[in-house]
Amino acid sequence: MMEHIAHDETSFVRPAEIGEMELYHPKTWLGKYVFSQDAKTIAIQYAATAIAIGMVALVLSWLMRLQLAWPNIFNFIDPAYYLQAVTMHGMIMVVYLLTALFLGGFGNYLIPLMVGARDMVFPWLNMISFWVYFTAVVLLAASFFVGGGSTGAGWTLYPPQAILPGTPGSEAGILLMLASLAVFIIGFTMGGLNYVVTILQARTRGMTLMRMPLTVWGIFVATVLALFAFPALFVSAIMMSLDVLLGTSFFMPAIMTMGNEADHVGGNPLLFQHLFWFFGHPEVYIVALPAFGIVSDLISVHARKNIFGYRMMVWAIVVIGALSFVVWAHHMYVSGMNPYFGFFFATTTLIIAVPTALKVYNWVLTLWQGNIHFTVPMLFSIAFLLFFINGGMTGLFLGNATVSMPLSDTLFVVAHFHMVMAVAPVMVVCGAIYHWYPKITGRWYHEGMARFHFWVTFVGSYLVFLPMHYLGIMGVPRRYFEISGTTFLPDSAQSVNASITIAALVVGFAQLVFLYNLIVSAFNGRQASGNPWNATTLEWQTEHTPPEHGNFGKELPCVYRWAYDYSVPGVEEDFIPQNVPPGNAQA
C-alpha cells in the first residue's frame, strides 16, 4: 500500500471529529476519592466492592461445603441456613461479583484507556452508577440481618416457593433481594450506557472498530447484552415484589400452603422462568464475553504473537451475543413446556457451540508456535482454556434435551456451570488483575505468591469440580442439605464430598493470599515501568503510570494499526504499539 505517502506522522489518520472532552477536576478529598468522576477510580471502587461482597459469597460456599462433607458436625448450619447460603452464594457470585467486576471494574478502567478517550462520555453518570451499585450491595447485605434472614429460594428465585412461607427468607429476605436486583439494574444501566457510547462515539483518531483490542469488543458486546437482558429481570423483580406486597397473582397459581389455600389465583409460574432465563442465559455471556476478550489479549501479549483470526474472533463475539438471546429455555427442559420448544432450544444451543468452539481453536492456534512466556497472566489464560473446554464439553450433554433430563438438578449441572462460567472467568479475572496490576498501581505483585496462588487455585479448582461430574452422573442432587441415608448412593459418594470440601477450603484460602499480595504489593512492590509486558495497546503507552485523570498527556494518541503487531517480521522489537506511525516501526 505504497499510495499512502506520509507527509508527517498524522497524515495517515483522519482529522479529529470530536472536540476535547470537558473534565471536571474536583478540589476536595471527597470529590477526588469518594465521589470521583474519573473512570479509573470508579473502576477500583467497583472492583473493591465486588471483591468484598464476593468474599462473603466465598465464605458461604465454605459453609455449604462443610455441611455437605461432615453433615452432623456443624450444628449451626441447619437446612434453612444451608439453603440461604446456596442462594446468596449463587446470586452474589454471578451478578454482584462477576458482572460488576468485568463491566464496572475492567470496563471502566480499560475502555477509555484502550480506545484512547480521556474518560467515559458522561463521568457524572458513571459516578452515580457506582453509588447505585453500592446501594444494591448494601441492600443485599442487609438481607442477612433482617428477621427470617436472607432468601433461601435458590439463585433462580422460582415462584411459587420463593415467596411462600416455609422457604427461608420469605418474610423480608426475598423482598430485599428483589429490591437489590432492581437497584443493581438501574445502576448498571447508567454505567452500561456510558460504556457503549464511549466505545461507539468517543474513540481516538485512527481507532476503527476493527482495530480495537478484543478486550474492548468483549466488554462492548457483553454490555449490550446486559442492557437488553436485564430488563427481563427488572420486570420480573417488580412483578414478584407486587405478588408479595400487594397480593397480586402474576406468578402465583391457586395453591395450598401450610394446609390453607393461599390468596393467589390464576398466575403463571412458568412466566417467571421464561423471564428469568431470558435474562439468565445472556447473563452467562455477560460474564463470559469479557473473559473471552481479555483472555485473547493476554494470550497474544504473553505468546508474543498476533491473535489468530482477529476478524473471526470479533464476529464470533457478536454472533454468540446475538444467539444468546434465543437459547434461554434450555434451562427449562424439565419445566413441562412444550417438547417442540425443547427441540428448538436444543438446536440453537448446539449452534452457539460453533462460534464458541471457533474461539477456542483460535486461542489454541495463537499459542501454536508462539513465543510463550509462562508469566502469571499466561498461566491463568491457559488454565482458563482448560476449564472452559471442560465446561463447554459438558454443555453439549446438558444442551441436548434428552440427555439433559436425567442430569437435571444434579451435581453434574453444578460442575458444568462452575467449570464454564465460574472458574473459567475467575481465571481470567485473576490473570487480568496480574496483567494490568503494574499499570494500575505502578508496582509489581509478588511473583512467588502469585505463582503459589495460581497453582493452588488451578489444581484445587479441578479437585473441587471434576469429581462433581461423577457425583452428578451417580444422581447426587444439587441443593440438598444432606445425602447420607439415600440407598442409591454408595458411601464413597460421601468420601468424595469430603475431599471436595477440603480442596474448596484450600482454594478459598489461596484467594486470601491473592488479596494479601494485591494489597501489600500496592505499597511495597517493586516499581514497574510504563509498559513492562511490551504490549501494543494504548493503555500501556500513557505518559504516567498509573495514568492520571484524563489518561493521556496533552495530546491524545493517534492509532495507526491493530492491537496485535507482535513479532512482526523485519522489525527489531517484537512489538509495535498501536500509536507508532508506519515507517517508524522499522527503527
Binding site: 500500500m1 505504497m2 499510495e3 495517515f12 489518520v13 483522519r14 479529529a16 471529529e17 470530536i18 471536571y24 462520555v121 458522561f122 457524572w124 453518570l125 444501566t189 450506557l193 457503549v196 457510547v197 461507539l200 462515539q201 468517543a202 474513540r203 481516538t204 483518531r205 485512527g206 481507532m207 476503527t208 472498530l209 476493527m210 482495530r211 442492557l227 437488553f228 437482558a229 436485564f230 430488563p231 427481563a232 427488572f234 420486570v235 420480573s236 417488580i238 407486587l242 400487594l246 397480593g247 397480586t248 397473582s249 402474576f250 390468596d263 389465583v265 390464576g266 398466575g267 403463571n268 412466566l271 423471564l275 431470558f278 495507526y560 494499526r561 503487531d565 509495535i576 508506519p582 516501526a585
Partner: protein, 239 residues
C-alpha cells in the same frame, strides 16, 4: 508493510455490505455527527423497549393463563356524562392530549435549533402542561377504578384478578415515565427561559455546559413515551 494496512484505512469507498460495515466501524465515531447524549438516549430507549416489551408479554401471558373471564375494556373504561356511558371516551381524550404533546415537542425541537428562545420556551411549557394533564387524567381514571368500581391490584368484581394487577402495573410504569418527562420538560423550559442553553451554563450536577441538542434528546424520550402509550392503548383498551 502488510500489517500496517490492517483495518479499514484504505481510502477508496466500498459498495454494498462491505461499505456498510466500513462506515459503521470507521474512525472515532460509528454514528457520524451524532452527539454523545443523543446516542446514549437512543440506546437507553432500546433498553427501555425491552422493559415495556417484557411487561406487555407478561400481560398477555397472564391474560391467557388465568381461568376467570377477562373484564370487557369497553364497559370498564366507559364514562357517562349524564346520558348513556360512552366507551373509552376518557382514554380517547388522554390519547389525544398525549399525541398533541408530541406535536408541540417536535416543534420545540425545531425552534430550539433555530435558537428561537421564547417560542421554544412556550412550546416546551405547553408540552409539559399537556403531559401533566395526561397524568392528571390518569389519576382520575385510577381513582374512579379504585373508589367507584372497586378494582384493586389483587382483585376486582368484574372478573380475573390479573386485570387490575397488570393494569395498575403497566399504566403506572408508563405514567411514571410521563411524570419523569414532565419534570424534565419543566426543568428545560426554565433553562431555556434563563438562556442557559445559549450561554452553555454548566449543569447543576454534571458541571457540563448545555445546548439546544438537549431539547432534541428530551424530545426523543418524550416521543418514545408516546409511542409506548399507543401500544398500551391497543393492548389494554382495544383488546
Amino acid at each position: 508493510m502488510s500489517t500496517e494496512t490492517m483495518g479499514s484505512d484504505s481510502l477508496e469507498l466500498k459498495s454494498g455490505l462491505a461499505g456498510f460495515f466500513d462506515d459503521w466501524s470507521s474512525d472515532q465515531r460509528a454514528f457520524k455527527g451524532v452527539p454523545w447524549g443523543k446516542a446514549m438516549m437512543w440506546i437507553f430507549l432500546v433498553s427501555d423497549t425491552f422493559i415495556f416489551g417484557c411487561f406487555l408479554a407478561s400481560y398477555m401471558t397472564v391474560r391467557m393463563s388465568t381461568l376467570d373471564p377477562w373484564p370487557s375494556a369497553s364497559e370498564v373504561f366507559a364514562l357517562s356524562f349524564g346520558g348513556d356511558p360512552i366507551p373509552l371516551i376518557l382514554i380517547a381524550i388522554m390519547t389525544f392530549v398525549l399525541i398533541t404533546s408530541s406535536g408541540t415537542m417536535a416543534l420545540a425541537v425545531n425552534y430550539g435549533y433555530r435558537k428561537n428562545k421564547w417560542v421554544t420556551f412556550w412550546l416546551l411549557l405547553a408540552t409539559a402542561l399537556l403531559g401533566a394533564t395526561f397524568v392528571g387524567m390518569q389519576v382520575f381514571e385510577w381513582s374512579k377504578l379504585i373508589f367507584e368500581e372497586g378494582v384493586r391490584p389483587w382483585g376486582n368484581p368484574m372478573g380475573a384478578a390479573q386485570f387490575g394487577s397488570v393494569f395498575f402495573m403497566v399504566t403506572g410504569f408508563h405514567g411514571f415515565h410521563v411524570s419523569i418527562g414532565v419534570i424534565f420538560l419543566f426543568i428545560f423550559s426554565y433553562k431555556v427561559a434563563r438562556g442557559h442553553l445559549e450561554t452553555q451554563q454548566a449543569g447543576w450536577f454534571t458541571k457540563r455546559g448545555g445546548n439546544y441538542e438537549e431539547i432534541e434528546i428530551l424530545g426523543l424520550y418524550w416521543h418514545f413515551v408516546d409511542l409506548v402509550w399507543v401500544f398500551i392503548f391497543a393492548f389494554f383498551y382495544l383488546w
